[in-house]
């Protein structure tokens, strides 16, 4: 699984960081930062899907499932 975070769309709702802190961090302005480069480990797939389906700005997407 490959994830994409669109930094332009992120408005800092902080939902991904709350649901999947293994995959997302936040910077000092509260903007989301994607922590994984490349393949998302299988055990985090469910959390990745949660982050995607709770982002109000549709800033996170699954590129390869």
């Amino acid at each position: 699984m490959l994830l994409r975070l669109d930094a332009e769309k992120c408005q800092g709702h902080n939902r991904c960081y709350a649901l999947a802190p293994e995959l997302f961090d936040v910077d000092e302005y509260g903007q989301s930062v994607l922590l994984v480069e490349g393949d998302v480990p299988a055990e985090l797939h469910a959390k990745a899907r949660l982050a995607v389906s709770n982002c109000p700005e549709y800033a996170i997407s699954i590129l390869v499932d």
Binding site: Q11, G12, H13, N14, R15, Y17, A18, L19, V26, D27, E28, Y29, G30, L50, S53, N54, C55, P56, E57, Y58
Partner: protein, 441 residues
């Protein structure tokens, strides 16, 4: 905009007028509008009024009726002309379109901000009243103060506050005692927290509650009569003076020491931001806490689930925010535009009811069902686009801790009489008697 500050004792110096209010911005009326000419709303599609006392208690039914009548955008001649999108799509589209819809005023009232107000794109209470490009500069100053990792450490203080408010309710008898969960509990939490962040005296908390009422609820009164707004301006000015003489480690001192594009902050901008934080942080969070407890009082099964499975709070919290989102924002039409067939004219009001978007069946499955562990929840309680609520992390923390401590202390409670709901853009219980059925030792 000036970059120097005249001392208060300079002859002829007048303290700046602050705030996102008609009084704060030299109001003008677009057309003569007398609220007394209008009775209660009979048809929300053509005569929408969020200031009708019947609106907030019944808002979810109003949105459903409009949707069922295939009316995605309601209209009203009130307030000199107002449009009300109620679907997720239309609310989303307007929130994103800062070119056609300005944030110059975000509270609908009888008058509109006049030309003597701080000029666009700054507005009276930046950054909420600001448009691009100034918006991003002002917002960037505030964001670090409300970032998740800065807010997290407040949890201990918020928890102590909630516990002390519960202790202060005195001796209660299970099955008999009735408390007002809105007045005696919910409302005190955000007032105390934001006061501590801004570094204002504890004795002034009662004053803040009145300021909030003046700004957000008395929207139908004649411009110039809301005397509380002058008082609010003078109060903030005195606090800024006090912080200038006695700088300290709080948000007010921090803002006074910042710069925008190399220009020192002036009192107008600092005062506007402080008013924003004071007004925006209080009624809203109070409402969210109150509505959540209102729900739990009537749904013991959800209450029990939170007690049995504390982990569910991650999802429950967002479901409370979705189903009972307190905040409806507003915009002014910046230039004539055709919005899906609606002929919107410059200076028409546009309400942005995020709570209505949160109950759109095209966006949410079973939107009128409260699902305590809803897994897919892209709710818009904190807005959409560049004006996402800057205090959202703080609001979430206060809401979470307030619910946790209340249900821990009172494992069962029920409504005990009529709940009185707010009037206007912020929706929540203002008086909510509940009977305490069980008290934890």
């Amino acid at each position: 905009m000036t970059d120097t500050v005249a001392p208060a004792d300079t002859p002829g110096y007048e303290p700046p007028i602050f705030g996102d209010s008609p009084e704060g911005t030299h109001v003008w009326q677009r057309v003569p509008y007398n609220p007394d000419d209008y009775g209660p709303v009979s048809d929300f599609a053509t005569d929408f009024d969020h200031g009708d006392p019947a609106y907030n208690p019944n808002a979810p039914e109003v949105w459903k009726e409009l949707r069922d009548a295939k009316c995605p955008v309601a209209h009203s001649d009130r307030y000199g002309g107002m449009w009300v999108p109620i679907t997720h799509d239309t609310v989303h589209e307007i929130a994103y379109d800062t070119q056609h819809f300005t944030s110059r005023s975000v509270v609908v009232s009888v008058g509109r901000p006049g030309d003597l107000s701080l000029p666009a794109p700054i507005g009276g209470a930046p950054p909420i009243t600001s448009d691009p490009p100034f918006h991003a500069m002002a917002r960037r100053l505030l964001l670090p103060a409300f970032a998740p990792k800065v807010i997290e450490p407040w949890e201990t203080k918020v928890r102590e506050l909630c516990v002390s408010l519960l202790d202060r309710l005195g001796d209660l008898t299970a099955g008999e005692s009735i408390i007002d969960a809105a007045q005696q509990y919910a409302q005190h939490i955000p007032v105390s927290v934001i006061r501590q962040m801004l570094g204002f005296p504890e004795k002034d908390e009662e004053l803040f509650r009145r300021f909030v009422h003046e700004t957000l609820e008395r929207i139908n009164e004649e411009p110039g009569t809301r005397t509380g707004m002058d008082e609010l301006g003078q109060y903030i000015f005195a606090q800024i003076q006090d912080h200038r003489e006695n700088p300290r480690d709080d948000l007010t001192s921090y803002l006074m020491g910042t710069q925008i594009e190399g220009i020192e902050m002036n009192d107008e901008i600092v005062g506007g931001m402080v008013i924003l934080l004071l007004i925006a942080g209080i009624d809203t969070t109070w409402s969210a806490i109150g509505s959540s407890l209102w729900h739990l009082a009537q749904h013991p099964e959800d209450h029990q689930r939170i007690i049995d499975d504390p982990e569910v709070m991650t999802f429950a919290l967002e479901e409370f925010l979705r189903a009972y989102a307190p905040v409806t924002m507003a915009r002014l039409v910046a230039e004539d535009t055709d919005f899906h067939g609606c002929p919107m004219k410059k200076d028409d009001w546009v309400l942005l009811p995020f709570p209505a978007a949160n109950r759109d069946p095209h966006q949410f499955e079973d939107p009128d069902q409260f699902i305590v562990d809803r897994q897919e929840n892209r709710h818009a309680a904190f807005g959409l686009g560049i004006h996402r609520c800057i205090g959202s992390n703080l609001a979430r923390l206060e809401l979470k801790v307030a619910i946790e401590e209340f249900v821990k202390r009172f494992p069962r409670f029920e409504l005990a009489g009529d709940t009185r709901w707010s009037v206007g853009q912020i929706r929540g219980p203002r008086e909510m008697p509940v009977r305490i059925l069980d008290i934890a030792n």
